[in-house]
Symmetry: D2
Subunit: 370 residues, 4 copies
Amino acid sequence: MSLKVGVLGYRFMGKAHANAMARLPMFFPEAPEVERHTLVGRDEDALSDAADRLGFAHTATDWEDAIEAVDVFYNLGPNHVHADPSVAALEAGVPVLSEKPLAEDLESAERMAAAADDAGVPTATAFNYRFVPAIRYAKNLIEDGELGEIHHFRGRYLQDWLVDPEAPWSWRNSEEMAGSGALGDLGAHTVDLARFLVGDVERVSGHLRTFVEQRPVEGEGGEAGETRPVTVDDAYSAQAELEDGAMATFEASRFANGHKNDHAIEVHGSEGSLKFSLERLNELEVLRDRNRGYETILVTDEDDPYVDHWWPPGHVLGWEHTFVHENFEFLSAVDSGSEYHPDFEDGLEVQKALAAIQESDERGEWVDVE
Amino acid sequence: MSLKVGVLGYRFMGKAHANAMARLPMFFPEAPEVERHTLVGRDEDALSDAADRLGFAHTATDWEDAIEAVDVFYNLGPNHVHADPSVAALEAGVPVLSEKPLAEDLESAERMAAAADDAGVPTATAFNYRFVPAIRYAKNLIEDGELGEIHHFRGRYLQDWLVDPEAPWSWRNSEEMAGSGALGDLGAHTVDLARFLVGDVERVSGHLRTFVEQRPVEGEGGEAGETRPVTVDDAYSAQAELEDGAMATFEASRFANGHKNDHAIEVHGSEGSLKFSLERLNELEVLRDRNRGYETILVTDEDDPYVDHWWPPGHVLGWEHTFVHENFEFLSAVDSGSEYHPDFEDGLEVQKALAAIQESDERGEWVDVE
Amino acid sequence: MSLKVGVLGYRFMGKAHANAMARLPMFFPEAPEVERHTLVGRDEDALSDAADRLGFAHTATDWEDAIEAVDVFYNLGPNHVHADPSVAALEAGVPVLSEKPLAEDLESAERMAAAADDAGVPTATAFNYRFVPAIRYAKNLIEDGELGEIHHFRGRYLQDWLVDPEAPWSWRNSEEMAGSGALGDLGAHTVDLARFLVGDVERVSGHLRTFVEQRPVEGEGGEAGETRPVTVDDAYSAQAELEDGAMATFEASRFANGHKNDHAIEVHGSEGSLKFSLERLNELEVLRDRNRGYETILVTDEDDPYVDHWWPPGHVLGWEHTFVHENFEFLSAVDSGSEYHPDFEDGLEVQKALAAIQESDERGEWVDVE
Amino acid sequence: MSLKVGVLGYRFMGKAHANAMARLPMFFPEAPEVERHTLVGRDEDALSDAADRLGFAHTATDWEDAIEAVDVFYNLGPNHVHADPSVAALEAGVPVLSEKPLAEDLESAERMAAAADDAGVPTATAFNYRFVPAIRYAKNLIEDGELGEIHHFRGRYLQDWLVDPEAPWSWRNSEEMAGSGALGDLGAHTVDLARFLVGDVERVSGHLRTFVEQRPVEGEGGEAGETRPVTVDDAYSAQAELEDGAMATFEASRFANGHKNDHAIEVHGSEGSLKFSLERLNELEVLRDRNRGYETILVTDEDDPYVDHWWPPGHVLGWEHTFVHENFEFLSAVDSGSEYHPDFEDGLEVQKALAAIQESDERGEWVDVE
C-alpha cells in the first residue's frame, strides 16, 4: 500500500517536493512507497499541465476534495492559506506538511499547532535547512560537546531580488498574505536553525525596515503605472538571548546586492566555532580544540549524514537534496507513526519569536518570547 | 515512441545515468521520451536488484542481446570493455554513449572512432564536466573573446583515495583493464576541458609515477595477505602546447591528501582570466577587462546555461546535474539525428594526448600529438 | 625645526606609534621632521629601557613635565587617563593624539572635545583603521556613488583572548579604568568606520554581556587564588539607524573562538556592495554595477591610497602600516596647522554612540544618540 | 663596534634592505649593531638622494671603493653584475649577500660559489621567502614528519606586468643582463622553496615561452617607435623529480592576468598537505592527520616563527618583514661567524636546476641536475 500524497501549490515549492518524492525509490529504497496523488490549485489549465509534469494522477481545485482523497497533505501555498486547509486536514486525521513560516500570524499558527496536538498525527513545518548534511554534522558536533558551551549564534540570510525599486509587487510584499517580509520568509529559517543548533529564543529586540514603499503591479492584474503598497519589511535585524545564555544576532534582507540565497550561520563556543553558508552548502568550517584555525570540511564522506544514499566523496549535492531528506524523514514518520521534527509545535515556537521581533520593533524595547 | 536505452554497468555510473534519465520529464520536458529498457551485467542477482532500483524493465547478461533490443546503448563498464560492445552496437546502427576515457588504449579508441564514423549515428564520450553550467559559461566567455588571446591553461585533478598504501587493489590499478591510472581516469577530463575551452593539444611532455607498487586484494577474489601489482600511474603531470600557442600544464593524483574530487581549471588570456573548481561547481571566478581582481560569479542566474530548467538564483546544483544535461543533449541529438559533442572523435583526440603523455614519459622527451 | 613628540605609554601602542614615526623619513619624505623626544611612564627602569629601544632621547615620570617640553603629545595610556593629560596639553596649546576610545566615559570625552575646541589646535582620536588603504579605497567608492544609496552597514570585531575563564584579569576588565569592554575597545573602531564610510549613528539598541564574572589576578599584584571582578562586557551587539536611513548592526566579542583580530565590515547599497576583513587587510571585495559577484581587489596598486609610498603591486602591507599613514597625516596637519580627522570631535561622536548602546542595554529600549 | 654595510643598488631592493636594517634596533635588539655605510650606484645625483633617504652616510660610484670601506657587502644589482663585485668582496674577506638568482648563468654562479668556499665567510642568496613566518612554520611541520612522506610539491609564481604588449622593455627582458626571464626571476624562488621544504631537484623537464618578441624602449634611451628584442622567457613550466622521490611541478608567468605577486606553494604528503600564497602571506592552510579538511592557520601567534618580535596575535605582517628576518639572520651570522643559509652554495644549487630547465627546453628532453 503506497501513501497517497496531496499537494496544494504547484510552482516553486510544488516542484521541489514533487521532485523529492520522485527520487526516493532510487536513493532511499527504505522509504515508504509514495504516490503523487492529487495536485491542488485554482487555475485548471495550469494545474493540469503541472500535474502532468510533476507526476500527479489527479487534480483538484478544491482542497477539501483533495484532503478526502489522500493519506498525507502538503500545504505549499502562500502563508495566509496555511491555516484553514491544514486544520481541516488534521481534523480529518490526515498528517500535514506546511511550508514555512507556519502561518501569516501568531494566532493562525497557534490554531494550527492546537489542531496538530488534537489530531495526534505527524506534522511538519518545512524548515528544509535542518536537512543539509553539513547542518546535521554541525548539530552532531554541538550535541557531542565539541564546541563546548555556546556563547554566540549569528545568522544572516541575504538576498537581493528587491533592491531594484522597479521589481514588481507580489504577495510576498503584502502583510495580509505573507504576515511579514524578510522576517517571516528568511528569518524563520534562521530562527529555526538557532533553535535546532543551540536552543530556544527567550527574549528579542527587533528592527524592521521597508526601503521601498510602493511597487509596480505586473501582468494581468495591473494597469500601466499601477502600484501597490509594500506593507511588510524589506529587511530586519534582531538581537536575542537564547536558552542557556547564548547571545544571538539575526538579520535578513532582500536588498543585499550581490547575494542570491546566502544563508550564513556562525556559532562560537568555549571549545570551538563553526561557519556555514547555504551558497556553499557542501562545506562546513569547523574550529575544534586541537586546531588553531577553521578547518574546511567537505561534508560528502560516506559516513556523513545522508551522504551514503548519494555519491562517493567529493561529488557534491545541491539545494534540492535537502527536500529529498526532508520528505524521506517525514514520510517515514507518517508511515510508521513515529515522531517527527520540526513539527507544527516547532513552527509555532519560531512564529512566537518572529512575532516578538515584530512587536519589539513596534514598541522600541526588548520583548520576551512566551 | 520512446527511445529504448540499454545500459551496461549498474554501479556508480549506472546510477548516475539512470538518475539523469529519470529526471528528464520533470525538468527537461522538451527531451525525447526515454525508456530505461535493458540493464546489462554479469551477476544476475545483483543485476536484478539494480534494475528494480534504477527503473529498468529488462536485464541481460549478454550485451549482444541488449544491443538488439534497444535504440541507444550506454557503455559504462571498465575501460577495457568499452571497445567491443560499442563497435558491435555501432555496426548495428545503434548510437552509443561510452564512459571516459574512450578506451584502455589508443588502438581500441581508434577502432571505436572508426566504427562511429562508419555508422553515421550520434556517439558520446561521457565528459560530463562540459555540462557544468559554470564551464559552459566559461566557454561562452572565451568564445566571445572576453579573455582575449589565451596564454595559459592549467588543469589539475586531485583525489586522495589511494594515499593509504593499504587501500585495496581494484581494476583501476590494472594497466590491462584500465589502460592507465590517474592519467586516463582523471587526466582525460582535464585534457577534454583544455580542448573544449582552448584548443587541441599539439605536443606534450609527460611524467607518470606509481608510489605504491603492490596493493592488497579484498573480498571474494583475495586470500589473506594476497597482493596484486599496481601497473598504472598513481599520479601524472604534463606540460603541453595547445593549438594557437597557449602553454598548458596538466596534473592529477590519487595521493593528494585532503582532496576528494578537486578538478581545478585556470585560464589566463590577454584580456582576462578564469578559475574553476569542481568542489565548488556553482561558482566561476572571472577576471574581465574593467576589473582588477577575480569576480566570484554564482552561475545560478536564470539565463545561465541550463539553469532555467532548475531553481531560482542562488539555489545551487550538484555534481549529478551534469549528467542530466549530458543525457538531455545526447538523447535529443539521437532523437533528432543531429550532431553531438563530445563524440567518439573527441574521445579519440583525448586518447591521443593521453597516449602521447605516456609515451613521452617512457621516452623522456616531448612527443607530438598526431 | 623638527616636531618634538612626547608619548605617554610605551607598551603595545607606544611601540606602534614609535615605529610609525621612525619610518616616515624613508617612506614619507614629505612628512615634517619628527623627533621622538620624551617618553612618559611610571616605572623608571622599564621606561628607560623602552626609551632606548623606541628611540626617545628623554623620559619623564610626570606627564606635566613632558607636555612642557614637546610640540605634540600622544596619549596612549589606559582609557581613564586619557582626559586629564590631554586637556592639560590642549590648555597649553599642544596638539594631542589620543588612543581610542576617546575616554572611559561620555563626560570625560566631552571635556576633552571641549578643550580641543577651545585650543584650536589639531587633535586626533587614533582610529587607525581609517588609514588602511582598502578602507580608503572603500570610502572613495562610496563617496563617488559607486555603491549607490546605502541600505546596510554590518560590522563585527571578533577576538578570543578571554574565552579561557582562567585568562588573567587586566585593566581592560575594569569599568573604572576602561569604561567598557569589547564595546569600547573594539566597538569604537566599528562605530568609527560606520561614521567614516556611511554616516552618523542616530539611534541604537544595544546588548551587552559578561560571560565570566571573576578572573584570576596574575603577577606582582596578585596572591595565589586571588580574583577580581570583571565589571565590563565580554561581548556586545547593537542595532542602529544611521543618518540617511541605513540599517546597521554592530557586534564584538572577546569570546569568538578562533578569531584573533577579525574586524569585518560589510556594506550593501542600491548599486553595489563591499566586504573587508582586517585579517586580510590588503584585500577588498567589491560588487559594482556591471558585475554579478564580488571582485577580490588586492589594494596594492600604485595609485591606491598610500601605496605609492611603499612597494610594487602585490607586495602586501601589514597592520602596522596603518599607524605610519595615521602619523603622517596627523603630524602633517600639526605642522601645517590644517584640519585633521578623526579628531576629538569624531572621538566624542563615537563615544556618544557607545554610551547610547550601553544605556540602551540597561533600559531595554532604543536610545537616540544626541 | 657596528657592522658597516655597503649596498650596491638603491631602487626596489635597496629600499627593501635599507628598511630592514633600519628596523632591527627596535624589533630585534639582539641583532648586531649595523651602520648603513656606503651606497653604490652610477648616477651621482640619484645616488645622493637615495643615500639621504635610505640613511647611508657615504656613496660610491665604484663598487671596489665600497668593498674596501665596509664589513659586509650587499649586491642588489641586475643579475649580470652579481658575479664580479661579489667575487671581489669575497676575495677581500668581506661577507656578501647577493640578490637572486645568484647570477645570470651557471658559470658565473659557480665562480661565485667557489669564491665563497675559498673565503670561508658567510654568504647569502636573498631568497627572502624562506623567512615568511608561515613558510618557517611549514618547514617545521615537514621536518617534524607531520605531513609524512612527501609525494607532491607544486609551486607557481604568477605576475601580469608584461601581459600588455606595449609594456616597455627593461633589463629583465634581456638574456645578456638577466640570464633568463620568469624562470630566473620567479622560478628561482620556487625552486629554492622546493629545496628548503622538500629536497634537492634531481631531474627536470622544462618548457619556456616568449609571447611577445619585441617591446618598446621607454624614456631616455629610446627613440619614438624604437623597440628591443625580448631574449628571455615570459613564462616557464617544469616537471621535476625531487630527492626521496617526490614529484614536483613548477610554473611562473609574467602574463597571468589578475595576479600581481602570487607565489603559491602546495605540498601533499602521506599524512597531510599544506597550501600557501604570498598574497596572503600571514596564512597557511594545513591538513593534518586528525583533520578532514585544510585548516586556515593565521601564523601570527606569539610562538610562531619571528612573531614575538612584532605584534600580538592577529596583527598581520607584510611582505617587507621577510627582509627584516633575513637581514637579522644574515647579519647575526656575519657578526658571530656562524653558518647561514641560503648561502651561495644554495644559490648555485638553484641555478643548476634553472639551467637544467632551460637546457631541457632546448633539447626537448629530461635533464639531470648534476
